[in-house]
């Protein structure tokens, strides 16, 4: 135990730990909506879409976060617009956007000469290089996102379980755009820690685990945040202890927590006893 604490002696490791916990809990909480609305594939796409934004920003000399956020928002709006078009299956549009933005990112990156090192950092994250500003940005974005989700919680849950009812009561479809933008902003802030490819792990696995222990959306958000934070701590510690890639360790830690919880829940039979009928009020 003493030895494990020693791993966090340096400022670098302490900052990495704080970032992992912040990102983990934010993603875990937002993930409740990702799982509820079946958005994991969308999440992967947004994560890939930050990539050309980051490359463009570094060419122009802007903040990488701003570039990623701008490009991801652009794509979120584009996908939202195709959702109304019935000739195009949403998942196909999402797939085209995913592949295209990723290709664009790689092409832009290859036009610069530093092709390899930064690319790997964007793809699989580099939590050890986060600085104080990254921590502040994560906190700020996290507060805004969680604040918006909390403010519209009732409406979002209604929209998820009864879209027609929500429409009939006059709630605008823009609500969905807001949710998608919140998910997008969360993805963008998680990229420095776990990278574009693995941010989907933090945005869906802790929330999936939380669903094993609770059916209420609000409780699932809290439980998801706890699972996400725990994944961050466990993954980072394992990565420092055994010298593994940090982002990948965090993703694997979240999967490990899922299987442990699944085993415990199956063994004690808690899920079946606590199972609430689907049409019961879930808020």
């Amino acid at each position: 135990m003493r030895h494990l604490l020693d791993l966090y002696d340096s400022g670098v490791m302490r900052r990495a730990l704080i970032e992992a916990v912040l990102v983990g809990s934010l993603c875990g909480a937002v993930g409740a909506h990702v799982v509820l609305r079946r958005l994991p594939f969308f999440t992967i796409t947004v994560a890939h879409a930050t990539f050309p934004g980051i490359v463009l920003a570094s060419i122009v000399g802007l903040s990488e976060l701003a570039g990623g956020l701008a490009f991801a928002s652009l794509l979120v709006v584009a996908i939202y617009l195709t959702m109304g078009d019935r000739s195009l299956d949403t998942n196909t549009a999402v797939g085209v956007a995913l592949a295209g933005s990723f290709g664009l990112g790689v092409m832009l990156q290859s036009a610069q000469n530093g092709f390899t090192k930064d690319l790997a950092a964007i793809l699989v994250g580099s939590v050890l290089t986060v600085d104080r500003r990254d921590l502040l940005t994560t906190t700020a974005v996290g507060l805004v996102v969680l604040g918006s989700l909390a403010a519209t919680h009732k409406e979002l849950v209604l929209r998820a379980f009864d879209p027609e009812g929500a429409a009939a009561q006059g709630y605008p479809r823009m609500l969905d755009l807001g949710l998608l933008l919140c998910v997008g902003a969360t993805v963008v802030t998680s990229v420095p820690a776990v990278g574009t490819i693995l941010s989907v792990a933090l945005l869906s696995v802790p929330a999936l685990t939380a669903r094993l222990v609770t059916r209420r959306v609000s409780t699932a958000m809290v439980a998801g945040a706890a699972y996400g934070a725990a994944s961050g701590v466990l993954g980072l510690t394992a990565s420092a202890q055994w010298d593994l890639a940090a982002g990948a360790s965090i993703a694997l830690a979240s999967a490990w927590l899922f299987f442990v919880t699944f085993a415990v829940v199956s063994a004690t039979g808690r899920v079946s006893r606590r199972h609430v009928p689907r049409d019961a009020a879930p808020a």
């Binding site: 994991p40 594939f41 299956d89 797939g95 295209g100 790689v106 090192k117 989907v200 999936l208």
Partner: protein, 293 residues
């Protein structure tokens, strides 16, 4: 006119460009056809998941010094089985469960590669492929995979169509839905495997989704969809290679060949989508005018 023709053909004088073009064409034909199935069965997410889950196999084979092709083949088939089961899970939300499987397997790949000291260059090569460095043996391997995959698709054409449009009917007639899904997903995995060296695991998803989506914008019938999809893929492959070669050789801007193909593919999709959207709006307005007048 002559200048344009030279611009389009001159890049293919060096041998490596001819080989790149050959493999790109084979992959276009293969991914174009399978892409229509992907769209029909709504397997976009599954396809993206497979491109990530093939990665650990490639990574392990790479570190162990074995053939990447074999590594990808084993990982692709195994993860296709795993993902098919995950997609059918009823107890757990299957989208999130697929995300779990893909993230875990991809992470294992990253960890395996990161054990090598100089891993970032290898990681990019594995993710994005090296279409300009393929040799004739690799072209042959890809061609064999293409023949096998297209052959199996032709054999199960009837069952596949039935399963897509009448699930209950197919089950009532005694077909095993699980078995059909399993075969289709393994075929998609095989395409990913075949494309690993040329365009890498990360970009093959574009070949499998975008041409078919473009085709879907302009036609509905299955036969036409297949033809249009293959055509779009082949044209994008050709233009992509030409643009990448021309900018690198004549303008000193190095554009990665595989990525350029993907960008061209997406540009074609965006152009066709805009055109059809404009046209359908105009048609709608005209019919409206006829009705009201």
């Amino acid at each position: 006119m002559l200048v344009t023709i030279r611009f389009l053909t001159e890049p293919f004088t060096p041998g490596y460009m001819q080989r790149a073009f050959a493999i790109a064409l084979i992959l276009s034909a293969l991914a174009g056809v399978v892409g229509v199935v992907v769209q029909l069965r709504q397997l976009s997410f599954m396809t993206d998941a497979l491109t990530h889950t093939v990665f650990p196999g490639v990574a392990i084979a790479f570190v162990a010094g074995q053939s990447l092709f074999i590594g990808a083949l084993v990982a692709g088939t195994a993860s296709a089985v795993l993902l098919t089961i995950a997609a059918r899970s009823t107890r757990i939300d299957h989208d999130a469960f697929m995300a779990l499987v893909l993230a875990s397997l991809f992470s294992i790949g990253v960890i395996v590669v990161s054990r090598n000291r100089t891993y970032s260059a290898d990681l990019t090569a594995l993710l994005f492929g090296r279409v300009l460095a393929v040799n004739s043996r690799e072209i042959l391997e890809t061609a064999i995979v293409a023949v096998v995959v297209l052959g199996i698709l032709a054999l199960m054409y009837k069952e596949l169509l039935l399963r897509s449009f009448d699930e209950v009917g197919a089950e009532a007639m005694g077909y095993s839905l699980l078995r059909i899904d399993l075969v289709v997903n393994i075929l998609v995995a095989l395409v990913v495997v075949a494309a690993v060296r040329a365009v890498g695991t990360a970009l093959v998803v574009a070949l499998l989704i975008t041409p078919a989506a473009t085709a879907r914008l302009v036609c509905v019938r299955l036969g036409r969809l297949v033809v249009a999809s293959v055509l779009v893929a082949a044209i994008a492959a050709w233009l992509g290679l030409v643009i990448s070669y021309d900018t690198s050789v004549h303008h000193g801007v190095r554009l990665a060949a595989g990525a350029t193909i993907v960008v061209v593919l997406t540009a074609i999709f965006a152009a066709v989508a805009t055109l059809t959207a404009v046209r359908s709006r105009r048609v709608r307005r005209r019919t409206l005018a006829e009705v009201t007048s």
